[in-house]
C-alpha cells in the first residue's frame, strides 16, 4: 500500500485511535508529501542513498508474523513487545507512578523531540506508525530494573514509535531493542522527554536480521539539570542508518553517549550523533566506537553544536574506528559548530588496525594472533558493555562472540 490518506486512516482505525490521532497523522502526511527525498549532496546523506531506505510500500496489516522473539532476559520492570499493526504487549508489575500504555497518534507530546519536518523518514513514521508505546514516569519516581521495549517484525515495513516522558527528578532505564525485519524496512522514531533533574538511561540495541534495512531516529530533550546516559549497540541489518542525539534544552543538563557498532560481511552502517546545547552550563560527552570486518562499511557523522546563549558549556566527542580487514572502510566526520566563546570543546577521531604494540605484547604472552586480536577488540567494546543494565550484556555476549569468531575464519 502506498503512504496515502486511506493507509493512514486504516492504521489509526486498527490501533483504535480517535479523530485527534487521525487528524495529527494526516497533518504529518502533508509534511511528508511536501518533503522530497534528501539530496545526496547534503552531508548526512553523502554515504547512503535515501531511496534505498524508503519502503516501496507499507505492508498489509497486520504484517506477517516475524521470528518469535524469546523472552526478555534479566529482570525488567516491564517487557513491552511492539509488532506491526498491534497494540503493544505489556508484561510486568510496575511501581506506582509508572505507566506503560499504547501510544495514541493524537498525543500532543509527539514531535516535541523529533518534529516531522526533520525529514521524510520522521514524517513518514509520524503519519503511519503502526505500533507505539508511551512510557510515563511520575515526578520523583525511581524505577528499578529496565523498561524493555522490543520491536519485532517479519518482512515488509514496520514503523514503531516510542515516547518516554520522565517527570521532574524521576529515574528510569529504557532498553529499546530492534529485532527481526529480514527483507523488510524498519523506520523507527523514539522521543525521550527528560524533565528537570530527571535521570534517564537509554539503551538502543539494533540487532536486526540479515537483509533488514533500517532508519532509526532517537532524540532526547533534557530539561534543566536532567542527565541522560545513552549506551547504544548496533550489530545487525544490511543497511542501517541510526540518528542518535540530545537537545540540552535546560540549564545544567548533561548527556553522555557511549556505544559501538560491529560490522561484518557486506554490512553498511551510516550513523549520526548530535549534541545540541541550547542552554548554559551543560555538559556532553560522546564515545563512538566502530569495529569493522569483512567488506563492511561505516560512515559516522557526529555534531556538537553550541548555541550562542549556551555559555559555560563543556562538550567532548571521540570516535575510534578499528579496521580489521583489508576491505573494510570507515568514513568519519566529527563536526563542531560553536557560536559563543565561553566553551570548552574538543573532539578526536582515529582510524587504524589493531595496535601492533598491544598485539605484540599479547603474542609474547603466548596468545596466537587471532586470540590476541579478539581480546583487544573485546577490550575496545568493554566501556559500553560495562555500563549496560543487567540482561543486556548476557544478550549481546554470544552475538559478539560469534562475530569475533568470524575474525579468525578469514585467515
Amino acid at each position: 500500500m502506498p503512504l496515502d490518506e486511506e493507509t493512514v486512516r486504516r492504521i489509526a482505525t486498527r490501533l483504535e485511535e480517535g479523530e485527534a490521532g487521525v487528524a495529527a497523522r494526516l497533518r504529518a502526511l502533508e509534511v511528508y508529501r511536501e518533503q522530497p527525498l534528501p539530496r545526496r549532496s547534503l552531508h548526512l546523506w553523502r554515504y547512503t542513498d535515501p531511496a534505498a531506505l524508503m519502503p516501496d510500500g507499507l505492508g498489509p496489516l497486520p504484517a506477517e508474523a516475524g521470528g518469535a522473539p524469546g523472552p526478555v532476559p534479566g529482570r525488567p520492570a516491564a517487557a513491552v513487545l511492539l509488532r506491526p499493526g498491534e497494540h503493544p504487549g505489556i508484561e510486568g508489575t510496575l511501581p506506582a507512578g509508572v505507566t506503560v500504555e499504547p501510544l495514541d497518534g493524537g498525543d500532543p507530546r509527539l514531535g516535541r523531540a523529533v518534529p516531522e519536518v526533520r525529514g521524510p523518514f520522521e514524517a513518514m513514521n509520524r503519519a503511519a506508525f503502526d505500533a507505539g508505546v508511551l512510557v510515563r514516569v511520575a515526578p520523583g519516581t525511581a524505577v528499578e530494573g529496565p523498561v524493555w521495549i522490543r520491536a519485532a517484525s517479519g518482512g515488509g515495513a514496520f514503523l514503531p514509535r516510542i515516547l518516554v516522558d520522565v517527570g521532574e527528578g524521576a529515574t528510569v532505564t529504557v532498553v529499546e531493542e530492534h529485532v527481526g525485519g529480514a527483507g523488510g524496512f524498519r523506520i523507527a522514531v523514539t522521543e525521550i522527554l527528560a524533565g528537570p533533574g530527571a535521570r534517564v538511561e537509554h539503551v538502543p540495541i539494533q540487532r536486526l536480521d540479515d537483509g533488514a534495512r533500517g532508519h532509526l531516529t532517537v532524540r532526547t530533550v533534557a530539561d534543566a539539570g536532567a542527565s541522560v546516559a545513552t549506551s547504544f549497540v548496533s550489530l545487525g541489518g544490511t543497511l542501517v542508518k541510526m540518528d542518535l542525539g540530545a537537545r540540552l534544552a535546560g540549564e545544567g543538563a548533561s548527556s553522555e553517549l557511549l556505544g559501538f557498532l560491529l560490522g561484518g560481511d557486506g554490512q553498511r552502517f551510516d550513523h549520526h550523533t548530535v549534541h545540541r546545547h541550547e542552554a548554559p552550563r551543560g555538559r556532553s560527552d560522546i564515545g563512538f566506537r566502530t569495529v569493522l570486518t569483512g567488506r563492511s562499511r561505516s560512515a559516522y557523522t557526529g555534531l556538537i553544536r553550541i548555541e550562542q546563549e549556551a555559555r559555560g558549556v563543556e562538550a567532548y566527542q571521540e570516535n575510534r574506528n578499528l579496521l580489521l580487514s583489508k576491505e573494510a572502510r570507515a568514513d568519519t566526520i566529527p563536526e563542531l559548530e560553536i557560536l559563543n566563546e565561553d566553551v570548552q570543546c574538543t573532539h578526536g577521531a582515529t582510524v587504524s588496525p589493531v595496535d601492533p604494540d598491544q598485539a605484540f605484547y599479547l603474542e609474547s604472552r603466548g596468545l596466537d594472533p587471532v586470540e590476541a586480536e579478539r581480546l583487544i577488540v573485546g577490550g575496545f567494546l568493554e566501556p559500553t558493555l560495562a555500563r549496560v543494565p543487567g540482561g543486556v550484556r548476557e544478550l549481546l555476549e554470544p552475538v559478539i562472540a560469534a562475530r569475533l569468531e568470524a575474525l579468525g575464519a578469514g585467515r
Binding site: 579496521l323 568519519t332 566526520i333 566529527p334 563542531l336 566553551v343 577521531a349 582510524v351 587504524s352
Partner: protein, 472 residues
C-alpha cells in the same frame, strides 16, 4: 566582558587604516558581465593559441551549467552579482622589465604595503600583479642561468606553449567546480614557474597581487612545475584597497611536484572585507615528493579555500599549515585536503583559527585514503580561538578511509582567550592589551615561524594593529 566588546570593534576602521586606492586609469576594460563574446575578446586581445581559446569557451559552458555550491555560506555566495563584474582589465601596455619603468601610482601602492625598496631588490623575483595583468616582472639573472622559468602566465603561454599546454588544467580541471570553470574561462595573469631537474632554488620567489577597480574580478592562474629532485619556495601575498561594491577573486593554482621534488607554497591573503575570495589550489605530488602549503587568511568578506595535495606517488609527503583570522563581518571558510592515492604516503594538517567579534571561521577538510594505499599516516590538528560573545567557530573534517593498514588521527580544540592566562600575565606586570597580544601571538606562533622573516614581521605588525584597535 567589556574587553571583548572592544575587541569586537576590530577591523571596523579598515578604511582609515588600510583603505587606499588609486584612481582608475585603464587601457582596456571588458564590459560588465560574462559571455562568450567577453571570453573571445580576452583570448583575442592576448593573441592566444587556438587550444587555449577553445579551453576558455568550453570552461565558460561548464561555468554557465554549474550551480553555485549548496554548502558553506550559501547566503553570502548567493549575494554575488556575476553580471556586475568586469572580467578583464588590461592596465598598461606590455610588461615592464625594470623597477624604474613601473608606473608611479603602482609604486605608491607598494609603499603603503610597507615593503622596503632594499628588500624588494633583495628578493629574487617580484611579479607584481596589478589588476589583471602583470605589469612588473624581473628575474634575477642567476635564476635564468639555472634554467628556471619564472614569468607571468600570459608570457609563459607565448614563450613556452608546450610546457603550459602539457600541464595546464591537469591538476585542477576546468569542470572541477563552479569557480575553477569561471577562472579557466576568463583567467588573466598569475605566475608560471618551471624548475628543471635537480635544481634547487635557494631564494623564495615572490609575487604580490592587487585588486584596484570597482567591481573587477581577479582571476589569476598560477602553474608551478618542479621537475625531478628540484625544489622551490614560492610566496604570494595579497592586500586590497577598500571599495563599497563587492569584488570577486577566483584564482586557480596548480602545483606539480615530480618524483623527489619539493615545493613550498606560502600565501597570505589580506583582501579588504568586501572581497569574495573563492579559490581552488591543488598540488600533485609524485614519488617521494614533498609539498608544503603555508596558508594565511586574514582578509576578505568570505573566503572559501581548501588547498589540496594529491599524494599520487609512493612515499610522497604533504603538509598544510594554516591560520585564519575572522573579524566581524568576515567568514573564513578554509581547510585542507589530503588525498592518499599511493602506499606509504604521509600527511599532516595543522589549522589555527581566530574568530573575533562576530567573525566566523570554519575548518572544512578532507583526508582520503583509497584501497591499497597501505602504510599511510595522517594527522590533523585544528585549534580555534574565540574572542567575543558572538564569535563562531565550525569544524567539518571528513575522513574517508578505505584501507586498514593505516594510521589516521584527528584532533580539534575550541577555546577562548582565557581570563586566567591574561590574569597571570598581568600579575607579571604586563598591561591587559599586551597580555592579549602576547597570547594571540603565542597561538599563531607555529605558523609565523614558518614564514620568511619579512612576512613574519608584516604579519606580526598586522596582528598588533588588529589587537591594538580592540582594547582600550
Amino acid at each position: 566582558m567589556s574587553g571583548n566588546d572592544r575587541i569586537a570593534d576590530l577591523n571596523r576602521d579598515y578604511a582609515e587604516r588600510y583603505g587606499f586606492h588609486d584612481a582608475e586609469d585603464y587601457l582596456l576594460k571588458a564590459p560588465r558581465g560574462i559571455s562568450h563574446e567577453v571570453v573571445e575578446m580576452i583570448s583575442r586581445t592576448k593573441g592566444e593559441p587556438e587550444w587555449m581559446r577553445e579551453t576558455r569557451h568550453r570552461a565558460l559552458d561548464l561555468f554557465l551549467a554549474k550551480p553555485l555550491p549548496d554548502w558553506g555560506n550559501t547566503e553570502l555566495l548567493a549575494s554575488i552579482d556575476f553580471d556586475a563584474i568586469h572580467y578583464y582589465i588590461k592596465p598598461s601596455e606590455g610588461s615592464e622589465r625594470s623597477w624604474d619603468d613601473v608606473p608611479e601610482n603602482i609604486k605608491q601602492t607598494f609603499e603603503r604595503l610597507g615593503v622596503p625598496e632594499a628588500e624588494r631588490k633583495f628578493l629574487a623575483g617580484v611579479t607584481a600583479q596589478y589588476e589583471s595583468e602583470v605589469v612588473y616582472h624581473s628575474i634575477r639573472e642567476d635564476l635564468e642561468k639555472l634554467g628556471v622559468i619564472f614569468t607571468d602566465m600570459d608570457t609563459a603561454l607565448r614563450e613556452h606553449p608546450e610546457l603550459v599546454r602539457k600541464h595546464f588544467g591537469t591538476v585542477v580541471p576546468p569542470g572541477d567546480n563552479t569557480f575553477s570553470a569561471l577562472n579557466t574561462a576568463v583567467w588573466s595573469g598569475g605566475s608560471f614557474i618551471y624548475v628543471p631537474p635537480g635544481t634547487k632554488v635557494d631564494v623564495p620567489l615572490q609575487a604580490y597581487f592587487r585588486i584596484n577597480a570597482r567591481n573587477m574580478g581577479q582571476f589569476e592562474r598560477t602553474l608551478i612545475v618542479v621537475d625531478e629532485d628540484a625544489s622551490v619556495h614560492y610566496i604570494e601575498g595579497c592586500t586590497a584597497p577598500v571599495y563599497s561594491e563587492d569584488s570577486l577573486h577566483a584564482a586557480v593554482v596548480e602545483l606539480i611536484a615530480m618524483p623527489g621534488a619539493r615545493i613550498r607554497y606560502t600565501t597570505i591573503q589580506n583582501w579588504s572585507t568586501n572581497v569574495f575570495n573563492l579559490v581552488t589550489k591543488r598540488a600533485k605530488a609524485y614519488e617521494r615528493a614533498v609539498v608544503e602549503w603555508v596558508d594565511g587568511n586574514i582578509g576578505s568578506r568570505l573566503t572559501m579555500k581548501y588547498p589540496a595535495i594529491i599524494l599520487a606517488g609512493e612515499g610522497a609527503h604533504g603538509e598544510m599549515l594554516s591560520v585564519a583570522f575572522a573579524g566581524t563581518g568576515q567568514h573564513q571558510d578554509a581547510g585542507a585536503k589530503m588525498i592518499h592515492l599511493a602506499p606509504d604516503t604521509t600527511s599532516r594538517i595543522v589549522s589555527k583559527s581566530i574568530s573575533k567579534g562576530e567573525g566566523r571561521s570554519s575548518y572544512r577538510g578532507l583526508v582520503k585514503i583509497v584501497p591499497g594505499a597501505s602504510g599511510c599516516r595522517t594527522n590533523v590538528e585544528c585549534d580555534a580561538l574565540l574572542i567575543g560573545e558572538k564569535a563562531r567557530s565550525d569544524t567539518y573534517p571528513t575522513m574517508e578511509i578505505a584501507e586498514n593498514d593505516v594510521r589516521v588521527e584527528h584532533e580539534a580544540r575550541v577555546s577562548r582567550l582565557a581570563d586566567e592566562q591574561i590574569f597571570y600575565l598581568q600579575s607579571r606586570g604586563l598591561d591587559e592589551d599586551t597580555a592579549r597580544l602576547m597570547i594571540v601571538n603565542g597561538f599563531i606562533e607555529p605558523f609565523v615561524k614558518e614564514l620568511p622573516m619579512e612576512y613574519a614581521v608584516e604579519l606580526n605588525r598586522l596582528i598588533e594593529l588588529e589587537m591594538e584597535g580592540s582594547v582600550g
